[in-house]
Amino acid sequence: MMDWIRRSFRNRIFMTVLLVTLVPLLLCDVFMMQMVVRRSENGLDLQARQEMEGLFRSLDTALGEIGSPIGELCDSTVVRSALRRDGEDSRLLYQLLYQKTSGARPYASFDIYDTEGRCHYSTDAGQTDRDMDTGWGLLYAAGNRQALVYGTDEEGGLALAQAVRTREGTILGYVAARMNRDSISALIPQVLSSGNDFILLDGAWRMLFSSRGLQAREDVQALRTQLLRGESLSGGGQYRYYARLHEASGFTLLLRQSKVYTPQVMDSLYAICALMGILCLLLSLLTALALSRYLAKPVKDLDEAMGQVEKGRLDVQLESDRKDEMGRLTASFNRMTREYRQNLARSVQRERELNETRLSMFQAQLNPHFLYNTLDSMKWMGVTNHVPQVAAMATDLASLLRAGVSGEKLIPLEEELELLERYLDIQQLRFADSFTCETDIPEQFQHCLVPKLVLQPLVENAIIHGVADREDGYIKLSGRSEGEDLILSVQDNGRGIPEEIMDCLNAPGKEIPGGHLGLNNVGRIVRLYYGEGYGIRAERGTDGGSIIQLRLPIQKKEGERA
């Protein structure tokens, strides 16, 4: 991954844009969600705790208000004697009953039972058949305990009872109070907010009362099972539960609060975040792609163009209509290559001019007229003294000299051949006819223009380095056309050209070591005149010796057609 990023400028831009867009978004997402959820949950938690406190207090107060008159009635001698003497003093007892229970009567009714569970006195006149079983439930519990007991009545309300005992501990009867469902409900609305439910459980977590009615039974059953298995009550579900034990009664108060952020809500929140993340990812991908392409393309193009230039292609130009730094950089590159190209052309031109100057200087070093006149004098001396060879040699040399110093740079091939003839005459005299030279150039090339004295160095090379020390030297000069080009070749049957010199000859631009100035010059002159495609080539002949080929464009004097 890191390698991939480092490999390219574009990848860097891409990754940067991606990170810069995605990371803040994700951070914001997570932060916002966490903040909102935490704040809301903390608020709800506080609210639930306050409600629980309120519920606990109102229940505690109610149970206290109901419990204390029961205790007082149990300790009252009026109640004891009434229960002992079954039915007497009822007026006095009722007076006491109403007086003691005046505070609690709005939400509870009080009854007094005998040892058989028959109801003798009640604050609730409308209710009949209030008898209770003393061998079961509330009165059984009251009979077996010295204190106030808490339980349920048959209709699902709360019931409190205590046994009336003699000082010796014999049970005379029971005082019980009932608090029906409506009365319990009346305790709740002041403190309970909507959506929350209040459930009252007994010591073994069986439901005594629920603000939702009996529907809560199954929930309570499930909660109880969870509790017995040691599982969390609130985790994972739709509700959060708050439990508090009321020590005196053994009841447990349970507050059920609907979670705002249930797993479903959280799931959809996460889904939205993920969706936003994906959207932003797409957006930043597009932006990153576009931006990285916009920034990196000219750089890449420049990089490629630079590579081309390094390989020698100087005509590379980049297209760009941008006005920014990248545009200027591209323009600079174009300018740079253009100038480089021009400089190169200029330096070639200068080199050529220098060569010409050098040539002129060579030519000017000896005063040609002085040499020419001297040779003329030598010719006449040879005639006068009857040495015709000297006369011929001087004449030929004079002709060569005249051609050498004349201002013409290009001459027709026939004139060049004429000059070559002169040169050969001289060499024949020097080497005492030890070689023969044959010329085979078709008539149509006779008028072709060639740089003057280009053949002479080739033939000289063939003589000096080829056939000089042989008795039967043979040199053949031939010409043919190859497309638009004229190929002049000089073949000899001499020793052949050594390998390294052959390589140098065939690689233009390389100087041949150890002399051979003539061949070098011919090659250079032809290339200067006609360009890189032209020049000399050397190869080995089929029967020993070597072949030097000179390639020239077919060029005729003005007015003559090729």
Binding site: Q34, G137, G151, D202, R206, L227, L228, L233
Partner: protein, 334 residues
């Protein structure tokens, strides 16, 4: 890159602070010694008041699992059910799974009638359930059925509702009781009964009452408890205690061998066999007490004639009897 990841993690951790911590509910759960796991096949109306009273008296939390008798017994047999006590199931079913139960002779056993006790105390009787005949008093005005013999009487042919003994436990008990009460050739008696049923068989003993009150059948066989509850619920049916005598198979409770809370299970058995629970059986649950010192309410006749029902034989001969039943059903073209 790594530094950035670390930063991100730190931020996430920080933002995770301030989570609303859930209340520790463990304080509300009972200690291990205050628990009891009960499997029961009883209906909620039977077990709930008893279990709540037990919880209030002892402070023990009872965890109840309900299902069919056979299913629960098989779970216990499979082991690792977590069950401490099986509540419910007829004496025959409990005896069949006797190997999985622990012997327990309760503190109340001296008050229990001997005929209801298991010889080796593998289970403890809870209530007695006599098999009775029921009929529709609107349709049968004269000559009501008197006993098991009536089921073989051709006068009732096709008018009898009986639960299929191959499916229903009480149906099987009914057929066994009939055979033992009448005596004589088993095959012959069964053949006459099947002939008289004329192809009518209920899938469940609960369907007997409905069929009779709808008038589709005139008389049937069911448990006294079912019949009494139906009458209390307003069904127009009449009960006949067979004159030849009937069976009153107890159902019971049993402590699972190797359970986690055997002491609490024993307390529970003592509680349900105690006088407080037993004296409420008839009035609240339409069941007969297994104690000798409990008086029956007015609507339950005191001196029901009981035969000396051979439970061993009924249990051991079940497969053979049901095979015979199927064979005879086939012979009569059913």
């Amino acid at each position: 890159m790594k530094r950035m990841l670390a930063l991100l993690c730190a931020i996430l951790l920080l933002s995770g602070c301030g989570v609303v911590r859930e209340q520790d509910y463990a304080a509300f759960a009972p200690e291990k010694s205050k628990r009891l796991n009960v499997f029961t096949s009883h209906k909620a109306e039977v077990y709930e008041p008893i279990i709540r009273e037990f919880e209030q008296r002892t402070g023990i939390w009872v965890d109840v699992t309900t299902d069919g008798t056979e299913t629960l017994l098989e779970r216990i047999a499979a082991g690792d059910s977590g069950c401490d006590l099986m509540l419910g199931g007829g004496a025959d079913s409990l005896s069949a799974f006797g190997d999985y139960f622990q012997s327990y002779a309760g503190t109340e056993e001296e008050y229990i009638e001997a005929k209801f006790l298991d010889g080796s105390d593998r289970w403890s009787p809870f209530s007695a359930l006599p098999v009775v005949l029921v009929y529709n008093p609107v349709l049968v005005r004269v000559n009501p059925p008197e006993g098991w013999e009536s089921l073989l009487d051709e006068a009732w042919k096709g008018k009898i509702a009986l639960a299929d003994p191959r499916v229903s436990g009480s149906g099987y008990t009914a057929v066994c009781t009939l055979l033992q009460a009448l005596g004589g050739g088993e095959r012959e008696t069964l053949a006459r009964l099947i002939e008289n049923l004329d192809g009518t068989l209920m899938p469940d003993s609960g369907d007997v009452i409905g069929r009779i009150s709808e008038g589709k059948s005139y008389l049937g066989v069911t448990l006294e408890e079912t019949a009494l509850k139906a009458i209390a619920a307003g069904y127009d049916i009449a009960i006949v205690y067979p004159k030849e005598g009937t069976s009153a198979l107890p159902d019971g409770a049993a402590i699972v061998k190797g359970c986690s809370h055997p002491e609490n299970a024993a307390l529970f058995i003592d509680f349900i066999q105690g006088k407080d629970v037993q004296s409420r059986l008839a009035e609240h649950f339409c069941r007969r007490s297994v104690r000798s010192d409990v008086n029956l309410p007015a609507h339950m006749p005191e001196n029901v004639k009981l035969i000396d029902y051979d439970m061993e034989q009924a249990g051991a001969g079940k497969t053979a009897l049901l095979a015979l039943w199927t064979e005879l059903m086939g012979e009569s073209g059913l």
